[in-house]
């Protein structure tokens, strides 16, 4: 069996799993798995770019995904009336001053002669800068948050089409990644891991606490959909032409409208995935991709050949994070809401890692396959676990405490299963389902 046949069969197998969901459970569930699978596949491509191509150990995926979601709010929601004149510019000014303080401190650290005077100067700049920043920042934030706090209380967005928010999410994530990469990429692999883990937590903390930005834990609802590709159920159900088409397919209008909306998303996501996959494949085959793998396999040798390892690492770190940002923006669009409280590193960082490792790190198709497979399992392990628990407990007496506990706990089977899959793959097929060529 050749490589291509085997890989095609693997994709067909995962596809049939999703189709099987459609036939046995519901098509809505199946398309939901497909849509999140597509988004997960994009995240996997991002992580694969960093880990598979360059060997960078980034466990801050969650942060970049969340930044993508933030971009959606900042780009596509309507602006809050009065927020910009009330305090928006003041906040921007404060943030610029804060950044200027840090830059001034860094320049002092680099340019001034070393010694006690330098240390005192740095500390002085930081302290004065911090108090000036807080003095301007606090009243302006209070002004913004006072505007209609029940529904707004944030700066609002630019009211642009939501599709523009996807590249914007990529840009925002790329910007953050550049800052992080500049400071943390020189570190050894496990230090980089801890650093990125911390940065992701900080990004989530900022999104939860800075209410003026995107309402914090009060969440943002009603993010516009990428019309006209994705419609609104109510409008579709009122459209006589749509009802006629639904009847022709033998579906009732309500189900048909929900399916139509989800399929609209699937179409958009598939286009993005195909474009990114094509780009990642081209990058992998190009001289640049070969250089990346050379650096990954032997940094010292690559450096001796005149490759600027730090710059290349920064480059690929920014690119991979940007892809995760795009995926995050797409996910927030699909949800129609931004809920910073739901970002959890197990789900958004480590699960993506499981996808890449199971699929095959270093191989883009492997990452995509792993994403679909693991996402399918992540969703389906819960009902499967419940079924298993019902089977195990079927002989136990009704009303026994153990039985109730086992059935209640079935939902937690998924973490266990993911860990088990990861360990089994690492042990018996460490290069993944579709290994790197």
């Amino acid at each position: 069996m050749t490589e291509t046949v085997k890989n095609t069969l693997l994709f067909v197998a995962v596809g049939s799993l999703i189709l099987l969901t459609g036939f046995t459970q519901s098509w809505n569930a199946a398309i939901l798995i497909l849509n999140m699978g597509l988004i997960s596949a994009i995240m996997s491509i991002g992580v694969n770019l960093q880990w598979g191509f360059a060997g960078l150990f980034n466990v801050g995926v969650m942060g970049f995904v969340a930044l993508g979601g933030l971009a959606v709010v900042l780009v596509s929601t309507p602006p809050t009336p009065g927020a910009w004149t009330g305090g928006g510019f003041g906040v921007i000014l404060a943030l610029l001053l804060g950044a200027a303080t840090v830059v001034a401190a860094v320049i002092t650290a680099q340019k001034m002669p070393k010694g006690r005077v330098q240390t005192l100067a740095i500390i002085g700049i930081l302290i004065v800068g911090f108090f000036v920043y807080r003095a301007i920042f606090d009243p302006n934030v209070a002004a913004i948050e006072a505007i209609d706090p029940a529904v707004a209380g944030n700066i609002g967005g630019l009211n642009l089409p939501v599709l523009l928010a996807w590249p914007a999410g990529g840009l925002l994530a790329a910007g953050a990644a550049w800052l992080i990469g500049k400071t943390a990429l020189g570190l050894r692999s496990d230090y980089l891991a801890i650093a990125t883990l911390g940065i992701a937590e900080i990004i989530i903390a900022i999104m939860k606490n800075e209410d003026w930005l995107a309402r914090g834990v009060k969440n943002v609802y009603g993010i516009p959909r990428p019309a006209p590709v994705v419609g609104y159920e109510v409008e579709l159900q009122a459209d006589p032409g749509f009802i006629a088409r639904a009847e022709w397919l033998g579906l009732d209008p309500v189900t048909a409208s929900t399916l139509s909306v989800k399929l609209g998303y699937s179409l958009l996501f598939t286009i993005v995935l195909l474009v990114l996959l094509w780009m990642a494949q081209m990058a992998l085959k190009s001289p640049w991709g070969r250089m990346m793998r050379a650096i990954r396999d032997n940094e010292v040798a690559a450096e001796a050949m005149g490759k600027d390892v730090t710059r290349r690492h920064l480059q690929i770190f920014v690119l991979g994070s940007a892809i995760c940002g795009i995926a995050g923006a797409m996910m927030t669009t699909l949800d129609g809401q931004l809920t910073p409280g739901t970002y959890n590193p197990l789900r958004f960082t480590f699960l993506v890692w499981v996808m890449v490792i199971v699929g095959g790190s270093g191989n883009n198709f492997g990452a995509v396959l792993g994403a679909f497979l693991i996402w399918f399992l992540w969703v389906q392990v819960e009902p499967m676990g419940l079924w298993l628990m019902n089977l195990i407990t079927s002989t136990m007496p009704e009303g026994s405490a153990l039985k109730a506990h086992l059935i209640d706990s079935a939902a937690h089977m998924r973490l266990f299963t993911m860990g088990l899959i990861l360990l089994i793959v690492l042990r018996f097929s460490p290069r993944g389902l579709i290994p790197e060529k």
Binding site: I194, E201, I202, N209, S409, H412, M413, L415, G419
Partner: protein, 336 residues
């Protein structure tokens, strides 16, 4: 100006909580640093190991409470601690046998072991949630305070009260005992010396006839004991919630790295540095400053540098500063 009241307020809100939290972090960081020194990888499953040990302690405590056993004014969980340590030792030894040993024999790269520990993290997290559920569990009992704020005020006649919780007192005492035992073991016993030799130079240690599997096994046993103790103390002080233990991973790693990975003394120092910075930077200083400032010059705001939700940011920034200026940590750690 009222220096005494300021000092009491400072102790009550900053010093006492930070010392207790620092002891918990130090115990956690010791586990991370020992694994790094002997097994040579960063164990991402450490937070969940702590959660597993603490979970057994919670379950045994409930059992003892149901059986009517109590420890007088002290929390029953202390009686449950030895059982919890035993349970945790069994878990980590089984994990080592089934998972890590294979990669050790292969001489896999440290980064592979880190990814493997990610898988172990998922499994342990799943087991804990499966057995006890994801919710908050309280299991502290006995006397709540060693010194309560009201008694302190009555005793000294000051306006500010000083409260020391039993859990805080126990945390410090247990941590001191555990650290003393660990250092006695590492410095005085033959096995401890062989562990340090193995950590310093693996090949040389093998040549002098040290059995690596035995060193690894003892390391895991010590790590399980430290992790369970840290987990139980943290649970007594705050409350037991599996996800919180997972999140402790960041300050624990920050402590270990700031002190110098692989260096036990550094882990303890790092734990206190991180704890004190977190508490001082996220504490609202208004009260203390109001006592210290002259009349009419009291601060109007809360004088809080960062909101408490940014405590991760504090540990992280310290971590970054130390790494940029002193990459091996404050105390000389290993650089693999």
């Amino acid at each position: 100006m009222d220096f005494l009241n300021a000092l009491v307020a400072l102790s009550n809100f900053v010093l006492v909580p930070a010392i207790a939290y620092g002891s918990q972090l130090a115990l956690g960081a010791l586990g991370v640093t020992l694994i790094y020194g002997i097994l040579r990888f960063s164990n991402f499953a450490h937070g969940d190991t702590m959660a597993f040990g603490a979970m057994i302690a919670v379950l045994v405590t409930w059992g003892l409470q149901a059986a009517g056993v109590s420890f007088g004014p002290l929390p029953t969980a202390l009686l449950a601690l030895p059982f919890a340590i035993l349970g945790c030792i069994v878990l980590v030894l089984v994990t080592d046998r089934l998972v890590y040993r294979f990669y050790r024999e292969q001489k896999a790269k440290p980064v592979i072991l880190v990814i493997v520990s990610m898988g172990v993290m998922f499994i342990m997290n799943g087991i804990v949630r499966f057995i006890i559920g994801p919710d908050d569990q309280r299991f502290s009992d006995g006397e709540r305070f060693i010194v309560s704020a009201r008694d302190f005020k009555a005793m000294t006649g000051l306006r500010e009260g000083l409260a020391i919780k039993t859990s805080q007192g126990i945390t410090v005492i247990v941590a001191v005992v555990a650290v003393a035992l660990l250092f006695w073991f590492l410095n005085k016993t033959r096995t401890g010396k062989s562990m340090r030799a193995y950590s310093d130079n693996e090949d040389l240690a093998l040549l002098s006839g040290i059995n690596p599997e035995r060193v690894v096994m003892i390391t895991w046993i010590i790590v399980a004991a430290l992790a369970t103790t840290a987990g139980v103390l943290y649970g007594l002080d705050k409350s037991f919630k599996p996800f919180v233990y997972f999140q402790l991973l960041l300050p624990i790693f920050a402590s270990a790295i700031v002190g110098g990975l692989g260096n036990p003394l550094g882990a303890i120092a790092g734990g206190f540095i991180i704890a004190f910075s977190e508490v001082t930077i996220t504490y609202a200083w208004k009260k203390v400053l109001t006592y210290l400032a002259p009349e009419n010059l009291e601060p109007s705001g809360l004088v809080q540098f960062l909101s408490t939700d940014y405590k991760f940011a504090v540990s992280f920034v310290i971590l970054l500063i130390v790494l940029l200026f002193k990459p091996t940590g404050l105390f000389k750690g290993k650089a693999v």
